[in-house]
Structure formats: C-alpha cells, structure tokens
Symmetry: D2
Subunit: 383 residues, 4 copies
C-alpha cells in the first residue's frame, strides 16, 4: 500500500529550541508528516519531557541517537526520515548513523566540519539510495524561487555582478570580550569544538553563498576574504570578494556586529539585461528591474509570478508569509520526495527542489576557503 | 485530571479553503490543540475527504453542523471548542447551536448579520458560561499588541487623530460589471444573502475598526461614510469620517478596487505626545515617534519591546512572522483560556487577550452604521 | 527689441524670510530674471538692508507697495512682474495695485480671503491683459507633471478614488494652549486677521486640493469636513470626504499636529486601470501601477518619462531635485510666459503651464467650503 | 574696504553643461558671488554665447584659460576665485595657471591624473598662500555633515566596519561594445587620454572614498580591488576590500552597470556603539541606530540635529534639499573662506569645512591604488 504520510524523528529540537520548534511546525504544516520518534536532548529530563509533550510512544524516545537510528531502522513502522537539528559538531556522526540504518536525512547547515566528511556522507547516501537535504532554509522562500525562475528564463541576461550581505547586530557586545560570552543564546556558536572553524561565515555567510547559488545557478569559484575576530576565538565579521564560475565578480558581507541589522540577508543580482533584489526581512517582495525600465515591486501571490512560485504559494498576496512558511516549503518538497521514494516512484528534477547534499558540501568548502583566505591576508582561495 | 490539550472541531474549512488551512495550522502551532471533529463542507464528498485527510474518526465527520453540535456536546470526549470558518450567513445559527450544546466558540468575522443576533449570542454565551472569540486576526500580530501596550502606557499621550486604511486591488475588474462576478474566489462575498449587507466594509473595513480599537482602547462613536458600489449589489470602496468616544476624529478608508495594494492594512495613531504606525504587510515593525524626536523603527523580538510583546514572541528579531503566526497567537491565548476554563481555573484579563464577542458586536454595529450613513449621503450615524 | 530677460520686483521676502529666499533663488535659477525693485518689509531697516544686499538702485527700494506699483508701472525700465510673498492678508490689495499699474503678478497662495476678491482680481487681470500666477509650488515638481501626463494619456483609466494627505507635526505643542503661540515662526498663521478663516486648510489643505486637481484635471465638487481647533482660533487638523466632478470620492487629510510627519504631502490617485502615488518628501519618484501588474518605481530623468517631464528635467536621474527646483520650474514657465507676453508673442497652452488665477480662486472656494462644512458638523458643502 | 561679494570665473561650464549649470546656480545661491569672467568652452562660438548669456564684459570672455589666468590675475577687479569644471585632463594645468597668477581655485574631482601633480598643486597653493577646494560635493550635504558631527562626538563608538557603494546603471549598454560608445553624454569619461586611468573608480568610486573619509575622519590605508572592464578601455565596475588606518575593514563597491540604480551612493558606518546610514538619493535623512535600540530616521531641519547641521540648514524639515543645495553648501563655506582670505582675516577650522586639496590628493592616490591592485589580481596596495 502506498504511504500517504511520512513518519519522522528528530535529533535535537528539545522543547525550548527556537529552531527545533520551527522545524516541527514546518514539518506538520501540510499535514503530511507525523512526528514519531526523537532524541531531543542530551539532558535525559528534557528529552523525556519533549517526548511526552508530543505524546510519543515512550519506547521511541531515545537517549542515544545511535540507538534511535538502529531501532527505528529495524522497526517495520520506523521513521521515514530524521531531522537533525543539533549543534554543528553532531551533524556528521548523526547523519552517518541514520544513513547506515536506511533512513533519509534532513540536516541543519553547515553540514559538517570537514569537506571529507561531507563527501563521505554523500557517498554513503548514494550507496544506500537515500535522500539527503541540508536545510538552507531561504531557498524555501517563495520569492527566492521566483528569482531563480526569472534568472533561469534569462530575464536579467548574463550575470555580471553580485552584491549580497547578511548583517546582524546581536553579538556586538562580544567585541573585545575575549572568551567571555555576552550572549548566552548562542554561546556554542563561538566555541570551535562545537561550531567548527567559523562562527559568522559558518552560520550566516554560508546562507549568502547558498541563496545566491540557488537563485543564479552560479558557484563561487574563488574568494578573497577578510574576517574580523575582535578578540574572539571565532569570526564575528567577514567581508569578501568573490569570483563566480562564469567570471562575474561580487562581494559577500556577513556580520554579527553590524548595529541596526536584525536578520539582514539581502541578495542583489545584476545582469546585462536587468537586476533582481531580495530582502529576507520582507520576503514576499522581489524587486525586478529591466535595463532602462522602472524597478518593479513584485509580490508573491499575484497572477504575474511564475508557475513555480504560484504552485508553492500559500496565501493571497499581501498576507505575509515568514520564516515558518519558508521552512514549510522546504518540508513540502522534501516530504513529497521522501514519500515518492518510499513508495518506489521516480523522482523528477522538480521533486528534488530542496537543498541537497551537494549544497551542503559546497557550503563546507566555502567556509573553509573563507577562513583560509583570511589567514593568508585575503589571498584568493579556490572554493 | 487536568486537561493539557484541547480537542476542537471545525465548521467549514474544507481542504482547499485558504483561510480554513490557516486556522488548522494556527490551532496546532503550539501543540496544544487537536482536531477531533468536523463538518467541513456542505458537499458530502469534500466533507468526507477532508475528514479522511486529517484521519478523523469517521463518526466524528458530520454532514450537519447541528448534529455535530449535539453529538459532540453529548460525548464525554467531545470537542472543547469549535472553529466556525464558514461564509458569513452561517455564523449566527452555527454559533448558537454549539453554544446551546455547551461548546466554546471561535467564529470568523463579521460575527453575524444583525446586531440583535450578535447580542443574543452574547447573552447565550454568558448564560452557558462559555467563551466566545471572534477572529479579528490582526489583534494577534505581535506588534499590534506592542502598539496597544505603548498606547496604554501613555507613550503617545492623548489620542487626537487616527488615519487608518485597508486597501486591496483584487476586485477592480468588477467595476461596472453588474451582477457578473469577475473574481470567482470571492463570489459569495458579493452576494447579500451570504455576505450580508456589506462586502468591503464587512470584510475589511471591520478589521480597521477592530485593529484601531484594540490598539487604542477607543470605540467609534459615530461615523459619516460614503460607500461606492460601482454597479455591484454590495460595496467595493468606502471612505468615512469617524469620531471616537474621546472626541478625536479620523478617517477610515477601505477598498477592494485600489490598484497597487494587496492587503494594505495601515493604522496610524496620532497623540499629543507621539505617534504609532503599523503596516500589516510588514507586521514585525512598529514605527514609533515621540514628539519632536526621530521616528523609531521598532522590531519585534528586540530587548526594548514590552513584556507582553516579548512573551508572545516566537522568532528572533528579523526572522519574519506573518499571517499564520498572527492566527497562532490568537489561538495560543484562546486555547490557554479554553483549557483554564475546562479545568475550572479562573481567567485573568490577560488570559482573555483574544478578540471577544463584544468586539464582534461592535463590528456588526459598525458595518450597519456605515451602510446606513452612506444611504443617507454620509450623514453622521451613531455606532 | 525683444526682451531676453525679465525684470522683477518683490513685495515681502525680506532677507530672513525662508520662502522669500526660495523665491529669489528660484527666479534666478535659469538666468532669465533679474531682481530690480522691492518692498521687502514693513520694517524700514529690514527693507533697506535687503535692497542693499541685493544691490538694487536705492530709488527702487520702496517703503510702500502702492508707491512701488505706481512708480514701477510708470518707468520705462520698470519691472515686468511682481512676486508677492507677504502674509495672506496683504495679497488682495497688493495684487490689485500691481495689476492696476500694468504689472504681471505672481502671488503666494492662498490667493486672498474672499472669493469675491479673487474673482475681482481675475476680472482685473483680464481687462488689463495681464498674466497672474498663484504659487501652488508642487505643480512645479517634475514628477507631478509626469503624473498629470500619465493620467491625461489614460494610463490609469477613469479615476474612481483619491486619497491624499498633507501631514505636519510642527504645531502639536499648540494643542490646548489657547491664544498662546508656541511656535514663533508661524505665529501669523494662527491669527485670523492675517491668515484668514483657516490655518491648516488654508496653508496646506489647499495644496492637496491643487496638486490633486493639477494631476487629475478633476475639481472638488463638494466636501464634508471636520476641522479640529484644539482650543486655537484657527484649525490645526482637518479630515474631509470629497466628491469630484466626475463622481469619484476620496479623502483629504491635512494636519499640523501629526507627530512623525515633517512635510508629508502624499497624493494617491486610483483609476479603473491603474494607480499613481507621489510623495513630496521624495519628489523625484512616482509610483505607477497598472492593474494586475507590479508597482513601478519611476524616476525623474530616465528615458521612459514623458516628453513634458523630460523637457522640464534639470539633473540626471538619481541626483535629487528638491523644493528650490520645484519653484524654479514654476518660474521657468512663468518667466517664459511673461517674456512672450511683453514681447507681444502668442501664448500656447503649454506656455501657461503655471498655476493660474483660476487655481487661486478654486483654492479660496475650497477653504471656505471646508470651514463652512465643519461649522455645520461636516455637512456636504458645494465648492 | 572689506569685500562683501566674491567675483569668480569659470573654466568649462558652457551653457549646456549640466554640471556647469549646477556650479553657477550654487555659486549664486546665497547672493555672495558674482560671475565675472570665463573661458567656457574650447569652441569659440559656445564660449562667446555663454559669456553673452551671462552678460559678461566681452573682454573677460577668454578663448584661452592661460590668458584668462594672467589677465584676471593682473586686473584690479580681477576674479577672486576660479571654478574649474572642465574634463579631468585639463584640471592640473588649469589649476596651476590660476594659482601662479594668485587666484584661489575650486576644481572638480578627480583633482588630476598623477599623485605628483596633485602634490605639486598643493605645494604651489601653499607657497602662494591660496585656498584650494576639490569639489567632493556630497560633503556639502547637510546630513553628511550631521553624520560627521555624530561620529566625531562618539555617538557610534569606535568604527569597526564600513559598507559603502555608489551604483549606477547608465553604462550597462557599453558591456562588450569595445571602443564604441553607447552613451554620448559621457563619452569622454571612457577615454583614458581625457579621463585618466579610471572611469568608474575615478568618477564615482572616489566619491565613496571621500564621503566615508569626511564622515568618519578615517583614511583608507590599503585596498584590494577587482575592477571589471567588460571589453572597454576603462573600468565600469569595481569591488574592493578596504582597510582603514584604525584597522577596521569594509567594502567599497562602485558601478556604472548595475541595473536599477540611478545615483546610488550609500554609506553605512558601523561602530561599537551604533551605526549610521546615508543615501544620496534621499539626502535629508540619516538613519542612526544606537546599539540595542531602534533605528532612528533623522531629518534635516529638526531641532534634534547638531549645531553644525542647523547652521547649514536652508529649508524646514520635510522640504527636500537636493544636489544643487549640496553644491550651494560647498560654495557657502568656500565663498566665506575666500572672502575672509581676501579681506585678510584669519580662517578657523570651521571656515575651512570644504573639501581640501588634501582630499584631492587622497582621491588620486586612491584611484591609482585601485587600478594597480586590480592589475595585480586584487593584491593589497597601500593608498
């Protein structure tokens, strides 16, 4: 019998995890996935409490992710996919365990610490014929998809420059504070053992890279980066020149110390025939300009958008969709793909319109290149 | 034993209903309500299909809302509340049936056709000691609550003028088309038998009234309105002067024929000491100006917001919350109140921070006054 | 011999008058007018000082405007036109004196106190075959002209609604202060003997009326207004419903007590086929939307603007033009017309694209209607 | 006797020169400078025509700038200063000639081709005790001065990052067109013999450098730049990393091929305590954010601005000042300084608040560094 609903489990995402809750709401948005198992926290109490709150079978609330992977992999009614929403240092081993037990994986970004690990995961997924999604969530935004469609269709011609940034202010008090952490929320992000070799580029710079790549179809070929640490073990600010595989240049700026910016991901793509601009803080709008013409303020939900944008639309134009809905769009495509896969159907390119393990690998390469370039005083480094 | 989760049913909200889906996602957002019964459509097939999709017990998918009210009222595990998301003409009788069977009611706006009906529902709810929410969803927006807190605390002084509007473009093609309906989506909105005596004021003008009232604590005392019908049976455009119970004046403009506006609810409240401005299309921002000072762009999620805004917050500043989250906030408070009620606890004022039946009554009075004023060539009519 | 340059004189506009200096700079912007005479102030010292600063012939600095009108009218090299930039109560008599002496008149708005005076001036100008400009300066803004061209050409179809406002904050401290004047700068504006029967509508409401009329070609047929006085002798705030001669409705809101607004003249014109929006504080941009299409951000100076906009353009797109340039555009057309007139040439319609005495009359009627309507509790009053 | 008015001459700035007219209007804005001589064009006819239009003495309209410098230098009533608004290649020799003849110089930017020339001019000016202004006009914008005051006073703490750009679209059609010039207006800008070694960085990139330097007091210490030529002899697009003398990093992006941007000079200065943002296209506004606080939209003309901003103010808040007024502010300070100088008075620091020859030298160094860095594949080059 064909499965109509996907069962999923979570690693991480305890009750008070902001991003964990976003995952849970988003996975359930379209009523096609059911939370069935979890290993929500290293803290046994918190793990149990989360499982109880979501009324899971006690036996499917695991204290250890390996146990979870094995047992769920062995159950007839085991989970179809796992969501990994634990700190960065747990990604690789967790993903590996679930793949080895035949379970599809959706993992938070950055995928893992080392490029070799990322490639190993890819190889393993391929061998096991499993799907793997790396949650670059902004590619789920409707108007990011619209930008992709417009660029693919040639609306703005050949891309000649990209100016993209992701600016936040929330770590500005860490400047000059050494190891002391001012902002508890994200203390693990500044610990190399947990976050990896980069904080700012790893957390948000990599979103710039992915969003631009998703929109344009281009990859960063090399980059020249200057990271600022301000006395912290990991970077808080990063400016870089980038060169794309089509020869175009641009800049990527990411920062957690830019006062006045909350979550300022802005991508501006310039082509020979036009330009496209998108702001994550007002995600339902795309600014589209044809050469010599007025800039157009394009709204999600209007009749003039592409078929792809229309089919991913949830609300009439003007009723804002936000971060939850971007995640929900990722899950909509992802769950659709998982269900097709477990039902033995063939996946089309469109079915796979979720951020892939290749995107994850690219992200790891990107952040390694950025850190290395900065160490070498902004010398060009190939990605 | 204390109930931790509320069971709810729906009247209306079949699978393809945009607003029905918003209700369902929002009710489940915080994991505290479970869909348990429904009468989703007058069309038997669609009703069944919706029940099946949500995997309800067959016996709890009802073809008739009266049957549903009676049977659910009689079951030991019956629903705690019903969501009425059917066209306007069904609201009154449906709400009545559920109240009579002891079930709390959350109903879409406008509450009903006649003021007398609205007051009857209020009386009935009181007699039965039941909660009643009328879904003026924008009062769920975090920064609308922030506006309310700021105004209550005296930040902008005594209110002296209000300029509010709700502009849409989507019915512009109906101008001069007589009974012909250009826009299928909302054809019922223009049928007086289903929508009631007003289309534009009833659908969106009433949101202006409620949002302003919620923010300011003021009520519209009288109004002078000019509605435009453009050859249609119901109004498509409405401009009105309003006078509040504190003596302040202002204008409310609502329209479904203003090209360039998608869902343009904008409220601007002017006081002797400052001003507040909010745009539904960018709901996470509040523009706050103190007399003689620069306008401040205030963001949901920042440390400077009020305690109320902070406790209703879901995402870090800059990650957009949208319409689903506004609804989810209404449900969060509503479900909390219902659970307290069914568990025999006492409700505080804060527990009741959802739009009440009094708001619903006020809305019905408001739209009647607007229609009557326009019939009398914009004479003042008391609300 | 053909005159290439116009000689002009000023009544009012002493050295420290902000608006007087704007007139002077604007009149000289294109090098075609020369200041030759003046009666700059009732204060003899200030008058002399101003004349000296501008290096006028001593004998052409007059203590009395009547003397100036007579002597300049009698000189062979007398001024071609006079600029009247004195308080409102001086407009009528001053204009009359110059007309009687055969001198073209450019007068600040509002034209005068009474409609009968306004019509007398029109009659006199006609008898004397003299040009008369009433300085509704926003009609000089390039993109206001562009709006007019677009609307004339049918771009937005038949106009069905107008929403326009002119909001300022600078008198908010006068609320409840009775006769006391908090803001010295404009104390005369609140004195009925000097300002006339209205402060707010007279000073800025009338700009709404004129700008909308200039853009659309429509006239306000009747209005229903509520003016707020807040204990002052003249109005500080005004909300009104308007009905145009084509049957369309709308609202005009003007205020000097709306905190957060500096000089917020905004006109939004809605038609059956599109909409146009203009903000005086960012005057080089016009927002143009065609039905069902994205809003376009149109810039002065681009190749896509109308011929009229192009020929009135001064700077490449993106280099801001402001208030001085709007005045300079009025003067450019006005001086061109005066020179043609004095040289005996025939004036085309385009030559007369400056705000006329008919605009001035309309303005006086408009403000009388607004005051009367408000006295009658917002009853409709014909303009 | 003390001079009250300055006489000036122009080199370049023929009748149809857009920037020439801006200079002329701006120099006359405050009534303190009189055009007395000129060598307006290499084309004899155009030169004569311009002189006649401005009613100059025939003998003071010169066919050769050297002759002009000598004769004006020798006249008792000779010009006090010269404005050089000719193409770049003429700046050095012209400036030198006027300095040698004892005449103060205001010269367009970039100052000249070579750093050695720039330093020679500085030396010469010093020897002759003459003033020299290089027209970085944006430093004349009122709110740029306000930014400078705020930063000087410590409002935003220590500067840690700068993100600035100057984007235009108008040369996008030149891409891939080789020597062919698509846009007549600026053809000389792409001719190395006339424009020098850079087009884009020389014309607009240098404005970024100067505006940031003026606002912050910082100088660019070194830069790593990638210029794009797109088949043209000179650059059309430039992205660069910059490092300031206080150790802060940032990016400067300048472009003439970025569709959707007219004259998009935007400077964003980030400090440890706050941030400041300014947009040339809406120059009367400054966005000021203190750490952890809402962004403030600060308007020119309000009571809360600095004393410096207030004393340079021309219009009440909300009435836009634009490019002409920015130039007029440069001239206001410059003419004041020239008059003090010729009257033998001592100049204070505030008297010299115009862009100096040191700014001009810095600009030439900056563009040389940018071109050299790009030639060396974005290696760091000291400025």
């Amino acid at each position: 019998m064909m499965k109509k609903y996907a069962a999923y489990g979570m690693v991480g995402a305890g009750l008070n995890s902001f991003i964990g809750n976003v995952h849970r709401v988003a996975a359930g948005f379209d009523g096609l996935a059911v939370l069935a198992a979890g290993c929500f926290s290293r803290h046994k109490d918190k793990n149990q409490e989360t499982g109880e709150f979501y009324r899971l079978d006690e036996e499917r609330v695991y204290d250890d992710y390996r146990e979870m992977a094995e047992k769920e992999g062995a159950r007839e009614d085991g989970i179809d996919f796992v969501v990994i929403s634990a700190p960065n240092n747990a990604h690789y081993a967790t993903a590996k365990a679930f793949l080895e037990n035949g379970i599809h994986v959706l993992c938070e970004k950055p995928l893992c610490f080392e490029v070799s690990e990322a490639e190993e995961l890819k190889k393993l997924a391929k061998e096991k014929d499993l799907l793997f999604c790396v949650n670059y969530s902004y590619s789920g935004n409707n108007m990011v998809k619209e930008a992709r469609e417009l660029i693919r269709s040639g609306s703005i011609g050949r891309i000649i420059d990209v100016n993209a940034e992701y600016l936040q202010e929330y770590l500005v008090d860490d400047i000059g504070k050494g190891d002391q952490t001012m902002n508890k929320l994200s203390s693990w992000r500044k610990d190399p053992k947990i976050a990896g070799i980069s904080n700012c580029v790893g957390d948000i710079g990599t979103h710039i890279e992915n969003t631009v790549s998703y929109m344009t179809g281009l990859r960063v070929k090399r980059l020249a980066a200057k990271l600022d640490y301000f006395g912290q073990p990991l970077d808080l600010n990063a400016n870089m020149l980038v060169e794309f595989d089509n020869g175009a240049h641009g800049v990527f700026c990411s920062s957690q110390v830019c006062v006045g910016h909350m979550n300022g991901l802005v991508t501006r793509i310039f082509g020979t025939e036009g330009a496209i601009e998108w702001h994550e803080e007002q995600p339902d709008i795309l600014y589209v300009t044809k050469k010599g013409q007025p800039t157009q303020i394009c709204y999600r939900g209007m009749a003039y958008v592409s078929q792809r944008s229309a089919e991913m639309n949830r609300l009439p134009a003007g009723h804002p969709e936000g971060l939850y809905e971007a995640f929900a769009n990722i899950y909509k495509v992802w769950i659709g793909a998982v269900l097709k896969k477990v039902n033995g159907e063939t996946l089309t390119e469109k079915d796979c319109d979720f951020p892939s393990i290749d995107d994850g690998i690219e992200g790891v390469k990107f952040l390694h290149a950025a850190v290395e370039s900065s160490r070498r005083d902004a010398a060009w480094v190939e990605v």
